[in-house]
C-alpha cells in the first residue's frame, strides 16, 4: 500500500497531491503517522461533506446542524478517544457510541480494513492519540 507522510492538512486538491508526492520523493523525514492513499481518498469522498475540507468539523453540510461534527484537527478532543471507539463510530455510526445520529454508519461502504486505515489517517490529522 502506498503510504504518504507529508502535509498534515492534506491534499484535497489534485495539484496539492502532486506537490505532496513530489515532496515525498526528495524528502526522507517522515512527519507524523503514515497513512494510505486509500484512506485519504475515502476521507475526501465520505467525510469532507460534514467534517470539512480543513478537517475542522465545518463541512458544507454543517450550516444548519444542531450538533456540530467532530473537529478532526483538535488534538485534545481526538486524543481522548481510543482507536477502537473511533473505528466503532465510523463503522456503526454516532448512536453506537452515544453520539449524534447525524454521524451515519459507514460499515456498508468501507471495509474493516479501510476503516482501520482511516483511523490511522485521523491520528495523522490530529497529530494525537494512541501512538503518541
Amino acid at each position: 500500500m502506498n503510504m504518504k507522510t507529508s502535509l498534515r492538512i492534506p491534499a484535497f486538491l489534485p495539484a496539492a497531491a502532486l506537490l505532496a508526492a513530489g515532496f515525498m520523493a526528495c524528502a526522507s523525514a517522515a512527519a507524523g503517522t503514515p497513512y494510505t492513499e486509500r484512506a485519504l481518498r475515502n476521507y475526501d469522498t465520505y467525510c469532507v461533506q460534514c467534517h470539512g475540507v480543513k478537517r475542522n468539523g465545518r463541512g458544507v453540510n454543517t450550516r444548519d446542524m444542531a450538533v456540530q461534527p467532530r473537529d478532526h484537527s483538535d488534538a485534545k478532543g481526538m486524543g481522548d478517544i481510543p482507536d477502537e471507539e473511533i473505528a466503532h463510530a465510523i463503522k456503526d455510526g454516532g448512536l453506537a457510541v452515544n453520539k449524534s445520529v447525524l454521524m451515519p454508519a459507514w460499515g456498508n461502504v468501507m471495509s474493516d480494513e479501510e476503516i482501520k486505515e482511516l483511523v490511522a489517517y485521523l491520528r495523522f490529522v490530529c497529530n494525537c492519540g494512541s501512538t503518541k
Binding site: 481518498r41 469532507v48 470539512g52 458544507v60 445520529v101 447525524l102 454508519a105
Partner: protein, 231 residues
C-alpha cells in the same frame, strides 16, 4: 483521461445496443451530446476512482429512476438539483465559518428544445438498467403523517444532514428532496434509500440498514414533500 472516458462510454453504449431504439431520434442526441458526461450503459469499472472522474450522474438506469414528464421539463429548463453540484467534493471550499459551495466551479447543463427533450426523454425511459436494480412494487403507497415523517427525516434518521426538505435549509452534499417526488419514481426512492451503494456504487450516501417501516415512511414523506414544498 477524457478520451478514454469517452471511449469507454462509446464502447458501453455500443454494448447496450438492444436497449436503445435505433429509430428514436433521442438516441442519436444522447450519443452525440450526453455521453461525454453521462454513462448510458453500465460501465465495467464501477470504482471509487471512476466516481471522481465522471462528470454527471449515470443514466443507464434512467428509465427506472425518473418520471418522464419531469425529464422533458427539466431538459428544457435545467436547474441545479444538488446544491453543491455533482460531485460535491469538487465544488466546495473553506469559508469564513463553514465550507461553502464554490459557484465558479459549477457549469450550466445543456438546454434542449421541446422536441429534442421529448425525444431524449423517450430514449432515456428505455434505459431501465440491470434487472433487480429497483424493486418494483416495493413502495406500498401509504400516506404518511408529515409531522412524523419530518421527525424521522431530521431528528431520528439524520437525512437532513445532507439533504434539504425545503428550499434553503438542510445539507448541501445530497440532492434537494422537496422536488424528488416530481423527479423520481417511488420505487426508485425506496430502493435508493434502502441501499444507495447497490444503485450507485461508492456514492457518498451511507447505507443505514433501515427497517421496512422506515423505508416506507421516508419514501412516502419524500413523495409528499414534493406536493407540499416543491411548488
Amino acid at each position: 483521461m477524457k478520451r478514454s472516458l469517452l471511449a469507454a462510454s462509446l464502447g458501453a453504449a455500443f454494448a447496450a445496443g438492444p436497449a436503445l431504439a435505433a429509430d428514436n431520434p433521442g438516441t442519436g442526441i444522447l450519443k452525440a451530446q450526453c455521453i461525454s458526461c453521462h454513462a448510458i450503459a453500465k460501465p465495467d469499472n464501477m470504482t471509487l476512482d471512476r466516481l471522481w472522474t465522471r462528470k454527471g450522474p449515470d443514466l443507464y438506469y434512467a428509465g427506472s429512476k425518473f418520471n418522464k414528464a419531469w425529464l422533458v421539463k427539466w431538459m428544457q429548463e435545467p436547474v441545479r438539483i444538488r446544491p453543491a453540484g455533482e460531485f460535491y467534493a469538487k465544488h466546495v471550499k473553506a469559508g469564513d465559518k463553514e465550507d461553502v459551495v464554490d459557484e465558479s466551479t459549477l457549469t450550466a447543463h445543456v438546454k434542449l428544445s421541446k422536441a429534442d427533450a421529448e425525444a431524449v426523454a423517450d430514449a432515456l425511459m428505455a434505459l431501465t438498467g440491470p434487472d433487480g436494480l429497483v424493486a418494483k412494487g416495493a413502495f406500498k403507497g401509504d400516506k404518511v403523517s408529515m409531522a412524523m415523517g419530518a421527525m424521522f427525516f431530521s431528528k431520528l434518521r439524520g437525512c437532513a444532514a445532507c439533504h434539504s426538505a425545503k428550499p434553503g435549509t438542510g445539507g448541501a452534499s445530497g440532492p434537494e428532496l422537496y422536488t424528488a417526488g416530481e423527479r423520481l419514481q417511488p420505487d426508485y426512492i425506496y430502493s435508493y434509500i434502502k441501499d444507495p451503494q447497490k444503485v450507485d456504487p461508492h456514492i457518498w450516501m451511507p447505507t443505514l440498514n433501515l427497517a421496512e417501516p422506515d423505508l416506507q415512511r421516508l419514501t412516502g414523506y419524500i413523495l409528499q414533500l414534493s406536493a407540499s414544498e416543491g411548488k
